[in-house]
Symmetry: C2
Subunit: 269 residues, 2 copies
Amino acid sequence: MTRKQLVEQIFKKKSFLCVGLDPDLEKIPEHLLDTEDPIFEFNKSIIDATKDYCVAYKPNLAFYECLGIDGWNSFQKTISYIPNDCFIIADAKRGDIGNTSLYYAKTFFETYPCNAITIAPYMGSDSIQPFLSYENKWTVVLAMTSNKGARDFQFLEVNNIPIYESVVSKCLEWGNEENTMFVVGATRSSDISKIRKLAPNHFFLVPGVGAQGGSLEEVVKYGMTNECGLLVNSSRGIIYADKSENFANGAKKEALKIQSQMAVYLKRF
Amino acid sequence: MTRKQLVEQIFKKKSFLCVGLDPDLEKIPEHLLDTEDPIFEFNKSIIDATKDYCVAYKPNLAFYECLGIDGWNSFQKTISYIPNDCFIIADAKRGDIGNTSLYYAKTFFETYPCNAITIAPYMGSDSIQPFLSYENKWTVVLAMTSNKGARDFQFLEVNNIPIYESVVSKCLEWGNEENTMFVVGATRSSDISKIRKLAPNHFFLVPGVGAQGGSLEEVVKYGMTNECGLLVNSSRGIIYADKSENFANGAKKEALKIQSQMAVYLKRF
């Protein structure tokens, strides 16, 4: 999916919501556990319920990998089931030396054809560039994450510049706004504006709204551009909004609630 | 495998060699491509040929993942085939927020029972601690890697201290020498001593000897302890030493050559 197509979807659906697909056998409704593929059945219902209110899905690979072959089958079926007008982000946080990153790119852009993959930047240029060589595919680089541990290294300052800013600056040299996004946590909204200054047109993937405590209003205030420039993710807040047999309806309500707020913010353009 | 058992293996086999299992369908001998599982057949022959000369194997997940289900089956069969007295490092470079890292730990310590996993530290404490909660399992944290891009972020200095040193210092607070190792690239051997000073007893996993240009002599000079403290990895240099039908013999010769050098270094204790 190109940037233009993504922006079109956002304004058409009046939404910049990304739904995180983190299916956990210990959390999904019990009645699904008797089905042949509980993970896929769960995702299928969530997708059916939320696809009109979101523009992207973000399956988190850890939840599939831990189930072995069964999990990878569920992942495969899930990305095939997601409608073509939705953007798919493989939340895999990969990154290795050049010749290895090439194979990770192949995994998530060819074997499992997603639109984007999340990448950990610690190993630098040659760990990121192989992903950027794919046309119309997206590399979503961890810049400032939403977790507690983000403080340990990302906020260390070199000449008053935090590491996360150095990551963004370097990535701006390697890629462009048509193939690179940044993960920018909602839990540190006042810092979002720093990254927005560095990368005025890049899309940010924003986790941490909802379960992790970030505020949509703040994210919009500091991060929105005239082409939106945001994909705001909610995982647990949507998919586990209701843990009964009516879970899909609970997810739908929660997605609609967030989308309605997003529609107001998008109206200004 | 405990630290004590690993050290015993090293002195018994007179080797601290780790063989990297990076099987690539474009590089393995052509006659294997007709077999049912070329990747496993290749690994099996490499393991048979090298197991007496190495103490560890390091399958690099990218090479398996990119083949989808087939690749994960080959990975599963490979780790089952590796003899029990060899240490298995899943070179997966995972790392995510706490509740997700827990599932990555489950993947490589339970679903696919390896002894160790490599971890990218960018997301900090809660991305690493879930791995450390497993008894007799090892977390191998990327500190100073052997690739070109390592310079981009790992060598940035905060108050004259490079980021890779901050990573090591923090990990020393979270784990100990019984559950934590560090990736320390052989291509920057003079910097190995800095990390050795910080972590006098921890094991280092050292990539970059061979294909990437690092020297075994230098690694030993700056990194060896009286319990060895080193696992030196060679991937391409061993597994693709000979690309003919005699590839296993080529791998054996190369592994034996390195092991013979290692035996000399270990004699001093």
